[in-house]
Structures are given as C-alpha cells and as structure tokens.
Amino acid sequence: MREQNSATTMNRREMLKLSAVATLVGTAAFPDKIQATQTVAMKPISLPELPPKASEDLAATLFPGFVQTEVRTSGATIPVFHKGDGPPVLLLHGYPETHVTWHKVAPRLAERFSVYLPDLRGYGDSSRSARRRSPPQLLVSRNGVGPGRDDASFWARAVPCGCPRSRCSRRT
C-alpha cells in the first residue's frame, strides 16, 4: 500500500512537471492562448510531427503500375501518383484521407485516362501549410511544374495557384 501511495505521489509530481512543460510549449506556439493555458493543466501530446515513411509495398499493391513523382512548388512539395495515357484526369481526395481513397477507382480509370492522384497540401505525405489564411488547399506556385515535360503545362493550368482571384496574374 505504501509503495502504491508513493507511486501515486510520484505520478502526480511527474504529471505536474509535464503539464508545466506542456503549458510552456502551448503558450510558445500559440501566444494568444496564454491566459487559458496558464490556468488549465494540459496533458502532453506524444505524437511525431510528421507521418512515418510510407510503405512502397502497400503503394504497389493499392496502385499497381502507378509511378510516384513530386510536384515542387514555391511553398510545398506535393506527391503525385500517375498512370495511364489519354486525356488527363485529376482526382482529389477528401477529409481526413489521402489519395488512397481512390484505390478502387483509379486503376480502372487509368485504362483509358491519364490519371493523377495528389495528396492535398497538409494531408498524406505532402508538405504542410505554413501560414494561416491559405486559400483552399493544394496550393502550388504560379508556375506549377508537373511530372514530365508534357504534363507541365497541364499542371500549370490545372492546379489552383492559390492567389485570391482579384490579384491572380494567372486568372483566365
């Protein structure tokens, strides 16, 4: 019993320490929240910052024959899976998913179309949005560069550049 009690005390001490650290971290990252986090102890979050590396085997199973490329832009790197010839088809997934959402549909569409499957920015393995007020996702630079030469113009036209319409030089 004594041992249990002392263990409980230790746990409480540990918890207080941890919550103090969490408070510091929380206030540093979100300064406008100082008041709330000073009065309430936060349980620490133990999660990695980025997702673990993707399994290539799984990608090959779900998307047989698809080639993974990356679209580098001024502010983000977007992984794109691609397969097929024919008219281009861009498939965009939803929340809280990734391009994997298309794994039953994309291989069949790729029989007749050139299918592109990106992860929206901030989702899947794409790079994260650094700033608030970024317009709806999949932001790439004005000169979006695609996986191949022929695809570059497709990407440049097909992908939203992210500027407000009134200020966009790419406006059509």
Partner: protein
C-alpha cells in the same frame, strides 16, 4: 477532374478561378461551402460537428484530437461510411499513418479554418460577381437519404453551375470514390469520355446511361 469532399471544394474553387483549366468536373458529396454555412441547422451541426469544431482557435481542436487521434479518425470514418466493406484495412492503415501526427492534425484544422475564412470570402466575391462554373458538372451524392439531406441537394450546386451539366444522380452508394459500383464509375467515365456537351441553359440535363 473528379473530386470528393474537401478535394471537391478545391475543384469548385479551381472551376471559378481558372475556368479554362477545367474541361469537365465531377463533384462528389458536396454543396458549396458558403451554402453549407448559410443553411446551417441543428441537424447539420450535429452530424458534421467537425465543420464547427475544427475551426475553433488553435490549439484546442489540435490538442483534443492529438490526445487520441486514432480514435478520432476511426469515429469520423465510421460515421461517414455507411457501406460495409467500402473501407479496406489497407486504406485505413494509410489514413492512420498519415493522420496521427501533429503536423497533419494542425494542417487539416487549418484547412477547415481557411475554408470558413478566406474560402467564404472568395465564395461571396464570386457570388457578388455572378461567377458560376462554366464547365459541365456531374454531381454525385451518397444514397442514404439522411446524408443527402444533410450534405445538400443537387439544386444547391445547380445554382452554382451554368445549368449546362449533367443531372445529379441519386441512388448511389455513400463514400462513392472508394467504390467501383457500376453506376458511379460508369457515370464518371462517361462524363469524362464525352467530348461534346452542349452548353445551352435551355437544354434539359442529359441522363447518363
């Protein structure tokens, strides 16, 4: 272009910003963001609580989700998915891998905050300017009555487009992108295949076969 949920909101924005970039578009399971927030009622707020939860100031949503992200993810996915077997274990493992880290949780919250912030401003600006989707639109909704009623009705999107697209198909399975149900895939493929689509507003929407 085919797009589901958040992706469909990106596609909607692309259609309005760069109409020449989009030849045809298939939007799944959405009504425009502006329409959704304007028509908010108790049912929508209850069934789609993350539309209101995720837009709260950081770090509250991030912190609460981060305490048990796998549970949160599982709950959202099972809540949305009405079709047994539609979600494969492989797909779920990928969603878990990508979602259960601080950067994804924060980024996805920011996605919703941006949609409810600058996204609404852009939608309102397009509404004032009278901009509508000019590309042919094919709209898909899940089959469950309650879901369609909550997510929106075809007319919500019909008002957005130039009435030159295809008629919205009902009787489709929910979580349509995951399924290769005949109606869904055939309809999407047919939309993409058709090279000539008349753009008269008088024309009765064509039914795909």
């Amino acid at each position: 272009m085919g797009a589901h949920d958040r992706g469909a909101r990106v596609a909607h924005r692309l259609c309005l910003d760069s109409p020449k970039s989009v030849k045809k578009v298939c939007l799944m399971d959405i009504a425009p963001t502006l329409t959704m927030y304007r028509q908010t009622n108790q049912e929508f707020a209850t069934k789609y609580m993350w539309w209101f939860f995720l837009i709260q100031a950081a770090p509250l949503p991030e912190h609460l989700i981060g305490l048990d992200p796998q549970y949160y993810l599982g709950d959202i996915l099972s809540g949305l998915n009405k079709t047994p077997g539609a979600l494969t274990p492989e797909a779920v493992s990928e969603y878990v891998r990508c979602f259960c880290c601080t950067s994804t949780i924060h980024a996805t919250c920011e996605d919703f905050r941006a949609a409810a912030d600058i996204g609404l401003e852009m939608d309102e600006a397009d509404e004032r300017a009278g901009n509508k989707i000019v590309a042919p639109v094919h709209v898909l909704w899940g089959a469950k009555k309650q879901r369609r009623a909550v997510v929106g009705r075809p007319r919500d999107l019909a008002g957005e487009s130039g009435l030159n697209g295809y008629r919205a198909r009902s009787r489709l399975r929910p979580f349509s992108p995951r399924r290769t149900s005949r109606g869904n895939l055939r309809g999407t493929a047919a939309l993409l295949r058709h090279s000539v689509i008349r753009r008269t507003t008088q024309e009765r929407p064509r039914r795909l076969t």
